[in-house]
């Protein structure tokens, strides 16, 4: 934290709405983390080293060389940190799926805050909340006013919140990709600003399954079929996201008979991964009969948002489901408190 940096760069890592896997993924580069420590002074990394927001606030603007920001933005505090770290960093990287596209926290955009609070603070079987306490943004204690951040109705990506210089995809990013990105940043060998630093092909390109013509009469859930271990999973009727998802993982899921779920986000040139999946799957369904098509879709894809946008709802073109302020949920919550 000293001002004299011996020519080293300054590195910050931050964690917003995410699971913590990205923090661990950084350590996946193994002993190379020592090279990172040789190249950078770590000025802020709450998960690993002690540090205060206040000391970041006091830094000169653009004095952090590189900030790897993981996590989506779902509270006002996270939004504040995104703005602060943008202001203080020369290069801000959205690190991992949550920061890039919302990831699993972004699935909250299929509902809203009231409904989430109702589930979390009243409805789950493990909830014991006799006084009906829900998080408040302000609370007057004897010692004075206490504040909590706002919990947003809509989870945002980092790129929807502040300008982002680069994106590193993945839930979590692969060690090789992290290292390649760090080297590219250190050497200044970078793609245009705003790019994803990662592979430019799809998971299918890295998958060894035998692919022939895809023609299917029904989609099957994973528990309904035992894959043969050789044929493309989609050709066996299993909804696999490989054809719209960015490569980088080496096709590790489909190679062991588990369909791709899209954790590396949309491939290069794809703005909306769900739209791309709709296009791809529409070419695969073997029917020209409207009623049969409808049946195949209704029976085979009961949860299109969860299937197509598992990692990408917040980052998708529509970002969320239509917002309805859930007065029903609120009334329910009040009834329970009464």
């Amino acid at each position: 934290m000293s001002e004299a940096t011996n020519g080293k760069g300054k590195l910050a890592l931050y964690w917003a709405a995410s699971c913590g896997g990205c923090e661990i993924a950084v350590l996946g580069i193994d002993e190379k983390v020592l090279d990172v420590a040789a190249a950078f002074d770590i000025v802020f990394w709450p998960c690993v080293v002690d540090g205060k927001v206040r000391s970041i606030e006091k830094m000169e603007d653009k004095s952090i060389d590189l900030c790897l920001f993981n996590g989506a933005i779902r509270t006002s505090e996270q939004e504040y940190m995104a703005h602060l770290l943008r202001q203080k960093s020369k290069t801000l990287v959205a690190f991992g799926s949550c920061a890039q596209e919302g990831c699993i926290p972004g699935l909250a955009n299929a509902t809203n805050r009231d409904a989430i609070f109702k589930t979390a603070y009243f409805d789950t079987p493990s909830t014991d909340n006799p006084n009906g306490v829900v998080p408040l943004t302000e609370y007057e204690a004897e010692e004075g006013m206490l504040y909590l951040p706002y919990f947003y109705n809509t989870v945002k990506t980092l790129g929807q919140t502040v300008d982002v210089d680069y994106y590193i995809p993945g839930c979590p990013p692969e060690a090789d990709d992290i290292w390649d990105a760090l080297v590219a940043i250190l050497e200044g060998n970078l793609p245009p600003r705003g790019s994803v630093i990662g592979k430019h092909s799809t998971v299918c390109d890295q998958c060894d399954m035998i692919k022939t013509e895809k023609k299917i009469k029904e989609f099957k859930r994973t528990w309904e079929v035992i894959p043969d271990g050789e044929t493309c999973l989609l050709e066996q009727g299993i909804l696999c996201m490989g054809l719209a998802t960015r490569a980088g993982c080496g096709g590790m899921c489909p190679k062991v008979n588990s369909p791709c779920i899209g954790c590396h986000g949309p491939n290069e040139g794809v703005e909306d991964i769900g739209a791309r999946m709709i296009t791809a799957l529409s070419s695969v369904i073997d029917s020209d009969d409207p009623e049969e098509i409808e049946r195949i879709i209704q029976e085979g894809i009961p949860d299109p948002v969860g299937s197509f946008y598992k990692f990408n709802l917040a980052g998708s073109m529509l970002r969320r489901s239509a917002f309805t302020s859930d007065e029903g949920a609120q009334a329910g919550a009040e009834a329970e408190t009464a």
Partner: protein
């Protein structure tokens, strides 16, 4: 609201070979239809990437129409069958996202069916007008004054986190 009637904005993708010619025919035949439709010519209804539809809705369209040759009559043989499947899956997804059924419509109209296309447009405009504006971006707006909350955070930090010398 006053007594101003809501005029929906509808984006229509029309295939070059049938539906755009149907619209032409409606014009030369002086068939009037609602002026709420912005028509875009594409080579085939199969060219309409679902991203086009999502983009239109997210940017302010109240509805989207895709129009093409009747099944079996596609200039590119069977691309409109792909449109049919793709549209069914797009609708299935949009429904799950809470977009009302009438806002997105697939319409077959041959080059001879100017009246059919005009009627479909009138019907759709009426249905979307009844639904009201979509204003999709409003879905993203938070109810609270977030800027004020962010400003307050800075003050709190200055007060609470400053260690006296």
């Amino acid at each position: 609201m006053a007594d101003e009637r809501f005029e929906p904005k509808i984006v229509a993708f029309l295939c070059n070979w049938c539906s755009y010619r149907a619209a032409d025919l409606a014009g030369t035949a002086r068939i009037t239809y609602e002026p709420n439709v912005r028509m875009l010519r594409v080579m085939c209804s199969g060219r309409v990437d679902p991203q086009f539809v999502l983009k239109a809705l997210s940017l302010g369209a109240d509805g989207v129409m895709i129009a093409g040759c009747h099944p079996g009559e596609c200039h590119y043989l069977e691309q409109n069958y792909k449109t049919m499947r793709r549209f069914a899956m797009l609708k299935h997804t949009l429904k799950a996202l809470g977009v009302e059924d009438a806002r997105v419509r697939l319409q077959w109209a041959s080059a001879a069916e100017g009246t059919r296309l005009a009627n479909a447009i009138n019907e759709m405009v009426e249905q979307v007008r009844a639904l009201g504006p979509l204003n999709w971006k409003d879905n993203w707006v938070e109810e609270e004054d977030i800027d004020a909350a962010l400003d307050r955070l800075v003050e709190e930090h200055a007060e609470a986190m400053e260690v006296p010398a």
